[in-house]
Amino acid sequence: MLAAIGADSIDALFADVPEGVRLGRPIDLPAGRPEQEVYRYLRDLAALNVSAEDEVSFLGAGMYDHYVPAIVDSILARSEFLTPYTPYQPEVSQGTLQLMFEYQTAISELTGLPVSNATLYEAPSAVASAGWLAYQKNRRKRFLVSRGLHPHSREALAATSAGWGTAIEEIPLADGVTDADALSEAVSDDVCAVFLQYPNFLGAVEDLEALVPPARAGGATLIVQCDAIPLGILRPPGEFGVDIAVGEGQPLGNRLDYGGPSFGFFAAREEYLRRMPGRIAGETTDVDGRRGFVLTLQTREQHIRREKATHNITTAQTLNALAGIVHLSWLGREGLVELGELLLQRTAYARAALSAIEGVEPLHSQPVVREFAVALDADVAAVIERCAADGVNPGYPLARDYPEYENGLLVALTEQRSRADIDRLASTLQAAVREAVPA
């Protein structure tokens, strides 16, 4: 091959690398290893983790241990979905493009909004992207953010907007939900966007009917982060007049994977379509009149518009979106409702069971669907350790994100947590709280 090139050595191919910047030594890493050894090493590392396979886990707070049906693994393993790149050549990418179109349809249905893109990376960066879209549209300088918005979303918005000259103001919670009076007071015609979460981080179903009118009073863009699974039974944000709905796609057919990869969904009112970030699949026909799908509205995007693009994102989380649409098809129209009802009932049961424990109080009294918060009359870290020793993970401690709930605990349910599991949580937590030194 070197002869065909006309070079006398591999070194000659690197002659353009100036002497002064050459590494001049081997990379300081171990030598390569055979497949079976790499497998064993990584298997042993994975075995050091306590996963939802190993304990009865009530962790949620944005990612949930739903059952991922086997059909998802089977379809995602197909190389035709697994190994192509972005569908730049639509003639040989109809599989990818059509699944995007189907996914967009499903997200539109869930959110009650007419247009969806083909995903962003995940929820918090999708929230920040929605903020960017709002800022591009109205150039106003104030973001109003509910304290019930996921802390990671609030942080991602703050980090991403550092150079925009915008300011973020938090709207406090009252009994677990966004304080409508405080929101009304803060709203004026210089607000760029208002951010809410539905249900919010503490599991409470926000009263969008009451919050949307004040939020939109000053002409701000209203952005709501949603949990997709409860949307099976909750009135969708689009019906309340929300402008943009975003959310975490992990609960839709994606594994926990210690936090990623997953996808962020992004749906909006029609007027945002030509400014939306991310890939969008659209329907069209080919030269023979056959139905087909393409990436559309690409003049929004960085590879065409460069510094004038509406966003810098290049790719969709297509494989994760595929998991989402397969899972939603498997659940189906009735199944998603049944799942939502099951979670509603079990969550109410769990909330009552835990609140009956001495030293455990509900943190708020709002309606919840799949997650709720309690306050412990004990050191929450110690309680969690004690429960872990019994093979139960009781939930997520709120203290880091909410110092005002120093001994708060966020407890999440999925269909994988049965009544027996909930009873076990209650008895384990009871023992742990009793033992722990009162805070």
């Binding site: 590494l23 990584l42 962790l59 990671h152 936090g259 990869p261």
Partner: protein, 501 residues
């Protein structure tokens, strides 16, 4: 791809169109708690269920399997998409990523009970730091574009911390579109720098633009022309001399592993595309991951949390933890700890190849690219010559300008005709400054036979077109659909399936 009959071809039906009321796959777990009424006020309730498909499992499987066969994929054929590094995805990676200890690990599990994951991340950080020659790594960014955003925000934070308000970022006119788009998103202004006649940064132009209002130069080296900028040391002196930082777009890192490192070239910030250099199935666009590495002076600003290793005092095993206490941090750009599933695969790759293998991967990538460029000069050099007559790195650019003038066909036509030959086309019409560009990246995992076949296919397509240009202009002929009306799609967007009751 399957053979589709004319009848089947016309019926690209969506899963929603296959839905029949009452069909289903899901069996809900039994209601095992006492039923309680009124848990959710009626005004919070959906009036109608979301109109999701109603379909049984066999039909879901068949629907998506058939859809899959309308895709071209890397596991089936050559995919020389320039700038995307479509190298083989070893199957071991899927197996280790799917281990329950990884796949079912909750991101908020207490670090004490996620030691395997944190150790893997820490070891991956260390390996990436060594490969790039920069000491500190954050794995957090979700993809290259988010890594770039992190990098520009880091630069901004660094200058602000020093009390300097620098508002401009220089990007070459050959840059990936993400570079200028990222600058705008970070709230800074783009300044373009030109390209000299050897394909490198125009040094005189750079000198003129590198003023004290410049925060950063974003550079890809080798650049998007597949050329190593031989004047990188001079560029480094100019940029640092102006008090700006130097940002390395790691999209083309696959060219240089073990040969040179961004840190050695003087870069302050680098992003990696784990899905490119460290092989990740591209999944039809994603997922990927875009970790960043930085020099000591940028380190205080890295995103949080950061994975750290704490030595235990008593000689016991070190502990791995997440460090949130980073007062100068730019914060977080996304949720949780990043795309861990991607980290597992890329670390499996690094362990498998090792120091020697990574270097060999880059060397073979460069060898394959130069070989294919030489072969194409033989089979197609008259009509699609190399844009720059130089040794290339892992990819190279041809120009279809002479072809357009002599044969009356365009690069797009060649790309479409390649589909009939069973190849995925290269990246086309990028970089923008090359007329009728074809950006070709064969990667190290292709055989000489494949490269030969590709070069011959291009030659045949041009010979065919010399006889009858319509053969290329009307291509493709054998694909599930033929050329699609993209203008119509954009003019009257249909982005969802209309549904009945």
């Amino acid at each position: 791809m399957i053979t589709e009959t004319a009848q089947q071809r016309d019926r690209a039906r969506t899963i929603f169109e296959k839905s029949q009321r009452g069909r289903r796959a899901f069996v809900a777990p039994k209601a095992d708690v006492p039923h309680e009424e009124g848990l959710l006020p009626e005004r919070f309730r959906r009036s109608e269920p979301a109109r999701l498909p109603e379909i049984a499992e066999p039909e879901i499987v068949r629907h998506y399997n058939r859809l899959s066969k309308r895709n071209f994929d890397l596991d089936t054929g050559f995919y020389p998409l320039g700038s995307c590094t479509m190298k083989h995805n070893p199957k071991l990676h899927e197996r280790v990523a799917a281990l329950p200890g990884n796949a079912r690990l909750h991101p908020l599990q207490h670090p004490r009970r996620a030691q395997g994951a944190l150790r893997l991340m820490w070891e991956l950080q260390s390996a990436l730091a060594e490969i790039a020659g920069l000491p500190h790594v954050s794995l957090q960014p979700s993809a290259g574009s988010q890594g770039e955003l992190a990098g520009v925000l880091l630069t901004r934070a660094y200058h602000e911390d020093r009390g300097e308000h620098r508002t401009k970022v220089i990007t070459p006119d050959t840059a990936h579109g993400t570079n200028p788009a990222t600058v705008t998103m970070a709230g800074l202004q783009v300044v373009k720098v030109g390209t000299d006649d050897r394909g490198g940064v125009d040094i005189e132009d750079l000198k003129e633009k590198a003023g004290d209002d410049v925060a950063c130069l974003m550079l890809t080296n080798p650049n998007t022309l597949g050329l190593f900028d031989t004047r990188i040391e001079e560029i480094e002196r100019i940029v640092h001399g102006a008090g700006a930082t130097l940002y390395y777009d790691g999209a083309n890192l696959n060219a240089v592993m073990g040969r040179t490192r961004p840190g050695d070239m003087g870069f302050d910030i680098v992003h990696y595309n784990l899905h490119k250099t460290f092989t990740q199935p591209h999944g039809g666009g994603g997922p990927g991951a875009g970790p960043i590495a930085v020099s000591h002076r940028i380190e205080p600003f890295l995103p949080r949390p950061q994975v750290v290793r704490r030595e235990s005092g008593d000689g016991a095993r070190p502990e791995f933890d997440l460090d949130y206490d980073r007062p100068k941090s730019i914060g977080r750009l996304r949720g949780f700890q990043g795309n861990y599933g991607v980290f597992v695969r890329s670390y499996a790759y690094i362990l498998s190849l090792g120091a020697d293998g990574l270097q060999e991967a880059s060397e073979t990538a460069v060898l394959n690219a130069n070989y294919l460029m030489a072969r194409l000069a033989e089979t197609a050099g008259e009509h699609v010559p190399a844009a720059y007559e130089r040794t290339c790195m892992h990819e190279f650019v041809l120009t279809g300008g002479p072809m357009k003038r002599a044969l009356g066909i365009r690069t797009l036509d060649v790309a479409k005709r390649l589909l009939d030959y069973g190849f995925h086309p290269p990246t086309v019409y990028f970089p923008l400054l090359v007329d009728e560009a074809l950006l070709i990246e064969p990667t190290e995992t292709e055989t000489r036979e494949t490269l030969d076949a590709f070069a011959e296919a291009i030659g045949e397509i041009l010979a065919e077109a010399a006889e009858d240009p319509e053969s290329a202009r009307n291509a493709p002929y054998t694909t599930p659909v033929r050329r699609l009306d993209e203008a119509g799609a954009a003019k009257r967007p249909v982005v969802r399936q209309p549904l009945g009751a």
